[in-house]
């Protein structure tokens, strides 16, 4: 049995702009496969090609052992899709939305009733089937959208930034549902720009400017980052980054929330050097300490390495 998703040299151009540039990967059954990277990296375009919403310019992709170019209908029957934008009908009730998507997937009668109950229970919407969908809080809407996407129990599920805009509690709830689906054998491909979500994935594809920069397990991606990372707490992180960026011994300095993460060549020298430089620049430094690199640090380093490679 071939992998649920097999992608080879997949490319999409919009005029001169290459949105996805010869991307290849495979996803195994029951795997939660994450796409991460900045906006415009090609995550959404890749997902749209795999869901037959966009035609590839080059390369091949097989989803559920069907070609996305020539067997779109077979692919659509076997996948669930949830887009970035909430895209159920706001002016239909919860039940009416479920019934519509059920009909489109050919699910009716007792089977539909059973799936409806399952979705309502999953999305915490039991006894709220007659509520107008647009009146639901965003977190509930997204769980309902997930329910409609898996109404026909597809073996493969595509989620394009499914949790953007929802609060962390709802996000965690949503990921519990994704885990439950994966445990029952559903293959999940999900894009996100939340790093904490990326940690939940079994494997991550880091995309940057249309290219696949790295593809591995989150822990391995972190471990591969060999440079030590220092966390600096200071009164003005933006100015601190400026002061450190071109300093000798500093590989990369970036803001992470209210802290500054500094990647240095040598940990001991770096600790001393960074504090001194910031003091010289007139910054008040509360703490400088070595930390375990986060996934985001790993990505910054990987993208930087990619950039250097491109320049060379």
């Amino acid at each position: 049995m071939p992998d649920p998703v097999v992608v080879e040299g997949l490319t999409r151009r919009f005029g001169d702009f290459v949105a996805v540039d010869h991307v290849s990967f495979g996803v195994g059954q029951g795997e939660i496969f994450g796409f991460v990277g900045p906006n415009g990296a090609g995550k959404t375009t890749t997902i749209k090609m795999l869901t037959c919403l966009l035609r590839p310019s080059e390369g091949t992709a097989r989803v559920a052992d069907h070609d996305v170019r020539t067997e779109a209908k077979a692919v659509r029957q076997r996948i669930g899709y949830m887009s970035q934008m909430f895209s159920l009908y706001g002016d239909l009730t919860v039940d009416e939305n479920i019934r519509l998507f059920g009909s489109l997937y050919g699910i009716t009668g007792a089977h539909l009733a059973e799936r409806r109950d399952w979705i309502l229970a999953m999305a915490d919407l039991t006894r709220r089937g007659d509520r107008m969908t647009r009146e639901l809080p965003l977190g509930w809407k997204q769980r309902l959208a997930l329910g409609c996407a898996v109404l026909h129990e597809p073996p493969i599920l595509f989620l394009d930034e499914p949790t953007s805009g929802v609060d962390p509690t709802s996000r965690r709830h949503f990921w519990d549902l994704i885990y439950r689906l994966a445990e029952t054998g559903t293959t999940v491909l999900v894009s996100t720009h939340y790093m904490e979500e990326a940690e939940y994935c079994h494997r991550l594809a880091l995309m940057h400017r249309g290219r696949l920069v790295a593809l591995d397990r989150p822990d391995r991606l972190r471990r591969d980052l060999q440079q030590p990372v220092l966390e600096v707490l200071t009164d003005d992180p933006a100015r601190a980054v400026e002061a450190l960026r071109d300093a000798p011994g500093v590989i990369e300095a970036a803001m992470f929330g209210r802290a500054v993460h500094v990647m240095v060549a040598d940990e001991a020298a770096g600790l001393e050097d960074v504090a001194r430089r910031l003091a010289a620049a007139g910054r008040r430094v509360t703490a400088v300490r070595a930390i375990a690199p986060s996934l985001e640090d790993a990505f910054v380093a990987l993208v930087r390495r990619q950039g250097v490679a491109a320049v060379e």
Binding site: L53, L54, L100
Partner: protein
Amino acid sequence: MSAWRLWAVARKEWIQLRRDTRSLALAFALPALLILLFGYAISLDVRHIPLAVLDHSHTPDSRRLVEALVAPRYFTVTTTLTREGELDDALRTGRVRLALVIPPSFARDLAAGRGAPVQLLLDASDANTATIAQNYADAIVARYSLAVGGRAVVLPVDLRTRVWYNETLESRNMVVPGLIAVIMSIIAAMLTALTIAREWERGTMEQLAATPVHRVEVVLGKLVPYIGIGFVDVTIAVVTGRVVFHVPVRGDLLLLAALTLLFLLAALGWGVFLSAALKSQLLATQAALITTYLPALLLSGFIFSISAMPLPLRVITHIVPARYFVTITKGIFLKAVGLETLWPEVLALAAFSAGGLGLALRSFRKELG
């Protein structure tokens, strides 16, 4: 193609439409309003034109001339003047549209049989009304002359006109049938543009596209409720025309229904195409209004006669589907003609509806952007 999926799309569309007060008002109130507006207010008939009389003669003869003028009810004497100086004021202020001046010598000249001149002043700022009024006045005065001439005159050619199909020459008899085409155009243009472009704007079209639903099922499914509304509107138009305006309905109503469907498919298909191509409610609505409603109003022969248009416009009318439908509705309403006469129009409409639906389906095949 699955009838079940098509039906699912149609049912969803109907539920949405039912909850959308704005679209519903557009679908039912606007046609009713248009019928009443065109039927009552915009009457193209010339009747009871206000007339001023300046009678210097003050004789039974002059009074008979005035009576002859107002008898057919084309004119009504609203002002009686006593001095020449008041004429200009009465016409300029618009109190009257025409003024009749009878000189003091009128009765004497008439009795002497030497030709009695009377003067008719016309306000031609509305050229159409002025021309018609002049024709009526000419005819009435000519008949009066013959009657008072004393001796019988035999004219070599005796023209006897009879008006057919719209015997009372009432413009609403041709306005109401033509209006159906205009109303259908609005329904098709506005509603499909609004509701389909909305799906692109909100991203629901993409969600539909990711399901196994076929584009034929989406397009036809979405059209079903609007075809239903179109038929309700035609019924409103026919019943209002018959009951309120006494417009004769002489032809086959079933044929009218079938051809209405043909016209609706053309117009709805065009609306779907516009909204799929433009993907914005605002743009699609404006484009729909300009490309369907305006031509239906101006270039269909509904109000302005096509044969009176300059050649370039006459050529353009051939690509206005409403033109064919106006011919069909007038033919069925007033002349009771059937397919044996209307077949060229029916063929043209069939071509337009095939084209409209074809464009709509084509625009859906294009990948989502």
